[in-house]
Amino acid sequence: MSPLEQRERFERWVQDHRAILHHVANGFAEGDDRNDLMQELLLAVWKSIPAFRHGAQPSTFIYRVSHNAALTWKRTQRNYRARLERFQAEPAVAAPAPPDTSDQDLLDRLYAEIRKLPPVDRSLALLMLDGVSYAGMAEIHGLTESNVGVRLHRLKQKLTDAMKGAVHGPR
């Protein structure tokens, strides 16, 4: 594959599947880390293009590459330190924010709940919300469909419970 072809395919894929990358970046990181992770995801897609086999689904391929990159991504010490400093600068007990049920707020809370999950579950939750089939998830992760089913059953319950708390606010 020539560099020009690689570049053309990269630009087309990023354009067509930008939502996948956006969801993965937000699901695995926030703030400056999110921008770093986004760069890692783009790099992973770029590097993986020559390995793409014709006949395969680009979306499944991009899901696997981006989720793989996110799972094995190492946040930089610089951002980690910056985050620690921000955390230390925050007051010890923050006043609870009034519940806001706007879509943006719900989305932020949903992402926050997803980021609390263990890494593999986090990835499965993102795939589930993106509407990927059980077979697709099994293929991406190298799991059996029944295993995916069991995990997702637990995950759905966990997420909906957590979001109920988010909507009703702290008691």
Binding site: H22, R64, L71
Partner: protein
């Protein structure tokens, strides 16, 4: 709030990246990619240049000894041969390691789980590579007295070369400490991280 509500929020326009944001991220990536590529090429070129230069100098002296240069007599100066061969031995070891690794994981891109297994194996190889480098450095230090002794015996060096007994172990010691630090700070935690990820697939 049920899964239907979550899915509705998930599919809302708020969860779509804007074209401007995407453009900015792609531009940043392109610049970063160019920088990474240049850095890697520069590093590899530097290593190769150093290796080719030192080996070339030796071969040049052996094949075309000028009137001003002393011919290398391998019956009396043979210790220099393993000294210059050791980096090539290391290089060949790394290439063989890489090929074996590639053969062991032909389907590493089939699934995330397979990729993680390949990454864990790669981590093990990187750690082993450090052991090989450490072993070769120890071998160089072991043959150093022979090299120095032979150079003195043929009259190509005087007592000033004794500084090598301090300099070489000091440099190699610093490299080993660096590798140990890298192992403890980066490779070992990475190994544990990958093992934990793989284990989470079993739960």
């Amino acid at each position: 709030m049920d899964l239907g509500d979550l899915t509705r929020v998930w599919r809302s326009p708020h969860n779509q990246p804007s074209a401007a944001q995407l453009h900015e991220e792609t531009m940043k990536f392109t610049a970063d990619l160019r920088r990474r590529h240049q850095g890697f090429v520069a590093f590899m070129a530097l290593v190769l240049a150093a290796l080719v230069f030192t080996t070339g100098m030796i071969l040049f002296r052996v094949i075309w000894p000028g009137p001003a240069t002393d011919r290398v007599d391998f019956t009396r100066e043979w210790a220099i041969v393993p000294f210059f061969l050791l980096p090539w031995v290391a290089w060949i070891c790394f290439v063989v390691q890489y090929r074996r690794h590639r053969d062991r994981h032909p389907d590493s891109d089939a699934s995330i789980r397979a990729s993680l297994q390949a990454l864990l194996d790669e981590n093990r190889l990187t750690r082993r590579r450090q052991v090989i480098i450490g072993g070769l450095q120890a071998a160089v230090v072991a043959i150093l007295p022979l090299i120095v002794g032979q150079l003195k015996a043929v009259g190509k060096a005087g007592r000033e070369i004794d500084v090598m007994f301090v300099l070489v172990p000091a440099i190699f010691g610093a490299i080993m400490l660096g590798m140990l630090w890298n192992d403890r700070r980066a490779l070992l935690p990475r190994k544990r991280e990958l093992e934990a990820l793989l284990k989470s697939y079993e739960s």
